[in-house]
């Protein structure tokens, strides 16, 4: 399984701060498409994916046991 962490607007849209998904083998780009269908998240185009606390590229592939996070545009500071 893969743990998917949700923050900010995604957390509110999903009503939870994390979900387990079974999508090992997908690329980051494929994960985004899947998430759009599955959760109807609205603003994924501007959203980064972090894999194990590191920003990922669109072509990176998910492995079982990864911790994935959706990172919408940040607004700290």
């Amino acid at each position: 399984m893969i743990k998917l962490l949700l923050f900010a607007e995604f957390q509110e849209q999903a009503g939870t701060d994390q979900v387990e998904i079974d999508q090992a083998g997908l690329t980051v780009a494929e994960l985004k498409s899947w998430l759009k269908q599955e959760y109807r998240f609205t603003s994924l185009d501007q959203t980064m994916i972090a894999i194990n606390e590191t920003y990922a590229n669109e072509t990176d592939v998910l492995k079982d046991g990864d911790v994935i996070a959706l990172i919408p545009p940040v607004s700290g500071g």
């Binding site: 606390e53 669109e58 607004s75």
Partner: protein, 158 residues
Amino acid sequence: MTERLFDIQDTPLSMEEVVGKVTRRECGAIATFIGTVRELTHGKRTLKLEYQAYKPMAIKMLEQIGQEVKEKWPGSTIAITHRVGTLDITEIAVIIAVSTPHRKAAYEANEYAMERIKQIVPIWKKEFWEDGTKWVGDQLEQTAYPKGKPDVKEEDND
């Protein structure tokens, strides 16, 4: 060292504490930036803010910024603490303290760190207005992630 130079905390921030982390006998200049909750933005009244962080990754990104600063301004020491949770008007959201032997570098490094926080550190701000709420993105008013991802490599444009 036991104290964290880079931290995320859910309790009020202390200037003295963050500045204390960078005070060194060989440094004569400490530039500090304190970001506080502003009541009015573009004429709209903010009631309060909420900050949320992906804490372990946010600390890693702050540490990366610290590394960049050390490379760009040798001899500097930087500490950053960011608040999370609900903040009232005038409360402190972030403190950046940079000490350097001479002052010019302290200002420059501080400003650089603040820019980088707004680019790569996974922290989000929710505005509470009288007529609604919103998670804010893209504060730099640039197209979000023009390269498809935040520029986590050191910036070139300096």
